[in-house]
């Protein structure tokens, strides 16, 4: 089963507001197979969350997915004979989408206190999902929920399942949300900054847990974060976003060792590290772009050091540099100046 479970082609999501059109996502393409973890990295407002919400069909008015976008999801949910086919999620009705969302695409959000309902016990919330999507009896669903809690590392799941969310700590709550996300054995798990609200030691626990569960459940994972360190830890493939568009996509070693896009490169050189002494940080000058009615040029242009005359006139298309390495830039360059600063990353990427 090597065919990608998800193929996104030129995804665009716009928001129509009285002042004009906000191009929150403007050209994102990637493939995802069920054994891969795709890391999506970008700053605030880069459109990383909106892009993944589009994949999950969670864009409500005034936002819309531009009809030319393709979000092809491989599933047998809608076929009569049970064979697998690609369904374009971009054109799916909101009501029909409930058969995909939660069942085939699981979700984990940033703040577990906001994604769990404080008025219901953990059992209620877990059983609801399982019964709705799998049509099993409540007792059976409860057993399954207990098994899941055990798997995500909650001690005494039998007693604790009847507790309310506030009775759990932050890390435990996030474990519960992960359990709910995985409860229907989805083909894709979308995690939107799941460890941002947690302390580093707890974050390490959750990251290990997610890596293990992804392997066990054989589901593809899309991991959204602003933290490049976390990305390097968990992702197989990395997509870098800026100003609503995808700047670069490649496997994790290539991104960190041979970044071709000037933004990726600048981003890597401005992270302070605790394991290596850095004499000087190189901040990216200027401010992130405003997404309202942006001109049809590269959004990074005002802050870019490699800008040329051509950049001011044309929209750069995503071009393939090598297999699995796509860059959106007119002047792609291999930058051997890697993140370590002191010693340049010389060796070739790859596992």
């Amino acid at each position: 089963m090597n065919e990608p479970v998800l193929k996104v082609k030129d995804l665009k999501t716009f928001f129509k507001i009285p002042e004009g059109i906000v191009k929150a996502v403007n050209g994102v393409s990637f493939d995802l197979s069920t054994t891969e973890a795709l890391g999506v990295v970008g700053e605030t407002g880069s459109g990383k969350s909106v892009a993944m919400k589009s994949v999950m069909g969670m864009i409500r008015k005034p936002g819309y997915v531009v009809p030319s976008s393709q979000i092809l999801f491989r599933t047998n949910e809608f076929s009569k004979d049970g064979s697998y086919e690609y369904v374009n999620l971009a054109t799916l009705e909101y009501e029909t989408f409930t058969r995909i969302r939660g069942k085939h695409i699981g979700m984990v959000f940033q703040d577990p206190m906001a994604s769990l309902n404080p008025m219901y016990t953990v059992a209620d919330q877990m059983i609801e999902t399982i019964v709705f999507h799998q049509g099993v009896k409540i007792d059976e669903a409860r057993d399954k929920a207990i098994e899941l809690l055990n798997k995500v590392g909650i001690a005494n799941p039998k007693e604790r399942i009847d507790d309310y969310p506030f009775q759990f700590s932050g890390g435990q709550r996030q474990r519960i949300v992960i359990a709910i996300g995985l409860s229907c054995n989805p083909e894709i798990l979308v995690a939107d900054e799941p460890t941002t609200a947690l302390d580093v030691t707890i974050q390490a626990q959750i990251l290990e847990l997610m890596k293990d569960l992804q392997k066990e459940y054989k589901s593809g994972m899309i991991y959204i974060t602003h933290d490049l360190s976390v990305i390097s830890e968990i992702a197989d493939k990395v997509m870098v976003m800026y100003g609503g568009t995808q700047m670069e996509i490649a496997d994790v070693n290539t991104i960190f060792e041979n970044p071709m896009n000037p933004y990726t490169n600048a981003l890597l050189s401005c992270i302070p590290r605790h394991d290596i002494k850095k004499e000087k940080l190189e901040p990216i000058p200027g401010q992130p772009p405003i997404m309202l009615n942006p001109p049809e040029i590269c959004p990074f242009l005002p802050r870019c050091q490699r800008a040329t005359e051509r950049c001011r006139k044309e929209w750069p298309e995503l071009t393939s540099i090598s297999e699995n390495h796509m860059v959106r830039c007119f002047n792609p360059q291999v930058n051997k100046v890697s993140i370590s600063g002191a010693k340049a990353g010389g060796t070739e990427g790859g596992k």
Binding site: Q203, N253, C270
Partner: protein, 389 residues
Amino acid sequence: MLLRVDNLKKYFPLKHGFIVEKTVGYLKAVDGVSFSLDRNQTFGLVGESGCGKTTIGKTILRIYDPSAGRVFLNDEDTSFYFMPKAQAVKFLKNEYVARAKANLETYKSVENALDNVQDYEKKYFKFFYEKGENAFYDHMLSGIREKRMSFRRAVQIVFQDPTSSLNPRMTVGQMLSEPLMFHNVVRNRQEASDLVQEILHKVGLKGYHADRYPHQFSGGQRQRVAVARAIILKPQLIILDEPTSALDVSVQAQIIQLLKDLQKEMNAGFLFISHNLGVVRYISDKVGIMYLGRMVEQAASDDIFDRTMHPYSEALLNSAPVPDPKKKRDRKQFIIKGQVPSPINRPQGCFFNPRCKYVMPECKSEYPGFYDIGMQHNVACYKYKEKKV
């Protein structure tokens, strides 16, 4: 020494009961922390949420009064500055008078007693021995208003979230000139506005930004305004409480660079509180790692990150991911199980012993003291008992 924190403690009473409240226990947010900081130096405080690092900052700034322990600014004890008079007298009695009397009894002569106190507190003891108890209180509490004013001028803070620390109803100009007027730095509005312009340029903003409201700025610009407000009185000590946590990495780097440049220019001391280890290593000269209200390890910045000794520091540093896929090691061995215990009900002995993999019998009975392993690298762990210098 610009700042000296000596055995600082901050306990929050836990009240129970209706109408008649009873104190049933204490939350020991900060429980005996000592460190010092010179001008043009940065001390980084690291720890997970709930370890008391922010409480230390707030206690130094005197948003809270310390429960015990002292805070020296330029070798002047400032701990009692903002206490009501009766409380201040009680504090002085505990910290100085009682000790001075006990010392005199043990060492018999005034000279010997004076030799056995720290250099920075000698002048207080001397005054007490010479003039007596009541004169000592009067001396310490005289001119307290001026002392308060100069303390407020000398110590400033930058908070984590500029959206909530800047008043949405004031323009940047108003915000920045208010402290100037209050402390009588300027004589009229024109002078204030000139100074505001100068400071805005210094933090990388434009002069016309003075007429804008906080909501008209981006997150990074707002934090620049907060920095401007902190430096406008030319303070000696700035407490930076997670100043970059709410910012994106590219903007974070700008603010850190700005802070570093300003420090050189102003010759100020920074207390940098953060949970981001990378930022702390980059900006700090000295670093202290905290766990449950106590410092577990303290050393020079590079030393503590390259030669991590305490089991908790080891776990913390190895939990933090590194932006380098080649260093994606098997971290399972370092991951600490469980969570931070409640600060209300801390474990017996070393607070880290229930989660520590090197735990020894003595760890469970008594909290370890600091062991110096060389190069002023102090570790509170029994593992390093033999290496004591």
